[in-house]
Amino acid sequence: MSDINSIKVLYFASLGEEFGIAEEHLTIPRVPFHVSSLKKLLSARGEQWKNRLQASNILCAVNQEVQQGEDIQLNPGDEIAFFPPVTGG
C-alpha cells in the first residue's frame, strides 16, 4: 500500500461515505506539494470530489492538526484528513 514517498489521506463522516473510501495512500511527486495541490489532484477524480473538497465548510487536518489555509507543504509520511464540521458531544 504505502511506499517511502506516500502520504496517507483520510475521509471522515459524509465525505468518506460519498467518496466510498475512508483511507488511502498516495504517492506524491518530489516537487513541493501543498494541501492545495492535493485538493487539485483529488478534484480531478470527478464532480463529486471537486464539489465536496472545495466546499467552504470542509476542514483539513495535517498530522492531526486542523489547518486554516491550504499552503502548508506536505511531506512523505504525512497524514492528511478531510472532514465536515464536527458534531460530537
Binding site: 471522515f12 459524509s14 487536518a61 484528513a81
Partner: protein
C-alpha cells in the same frame, strides 16, 4: 483523564474519582444523552464516528486549557463512539475544584470547545448530523 470508548460509563464511579477528600468543595458533572431524533421510527440507532489519535489529542488540549484557565483539582472527559440508541449516554465531563465557579466554568468550557473542535461525527439513521451555528457561538464566547 481522557477516554474514548465504545463501552458505557458509570457516573458514580467517575464522580468518586473526581473527589479529593477534604480539598474538593464542588463537583460539576455533565452527561450528554441520545435524544429521539426520528419520532416515527423508535430504536433507530445513532452512529458516532471519530478520528482515532486526533480525538485524544484534541481532548487533552482542551483539558489542559481548562486547567490553565481555572483552579481545578480533577477533570474527566469520556466520549463514546460506535452505535448508540435513544437514551444512551454519549459524553461525560466532570470537574472538581475548591470553589463552585471554577468547576461550573471549566465544565461548560470543556463541553463548548469539545462540541466545536473534537473530531466526532454523528449519524442519525441514514443522515449525518449537520453542525449547529449555536455550537460555534458557544465556543466563540471563550476566545
Amino acid at each position: 483523564m481522557i477516554r474514548v470508548q465504545k463501552e458505557d460509563f458509570d457516573l458514580t464511579a467517575e464522580y468518586h474519582k473526581l473527589i479529593k477528600k477534604g480539598e474538593s468543595g464542588a463537583i460539576v458533572t455533565f452527561v450528554g444523552l441520545v435524544r429521539d431524533f426520528n419520532k416515527g421510527r423508535v430504536n433507530e440507532s445513532m452512529l458516532l464516528q471519530h478520528y482515532p489519535g486526533m480525538t485524544e489529542k484534541v481532548l487533552k488540549k482542551i483539558e489542559q486549557e481548562a486547567r490553565q484557565r481555572w483552579r481545578l483539582l480533577e477533570t474527566t472527559i469520556i466520549h463514546r463512539v460506535g452505535e448508540l440508541l435513544s437514551g444512551d449516554q454519549i459524553v461525560l465531563v466532570g470537574v472538581s475544584s475548591k470553589h463552585r465557579s471554577d468547576a461550573f466554568s471549566a465544565a461548560q468550557f470543556i463541553m463548548d470547545i469539545l462540541k466545536s473542535e473534537a473530531p466526532f461525527w454523528k449519524k442519525e439513521g441514514e443522515h449525518w448530523v449537520e453542525a449547529k451555528s449555536s455550537d460555534d457561538k458557544a465556543a466563540a464566547r471563550w476566545l
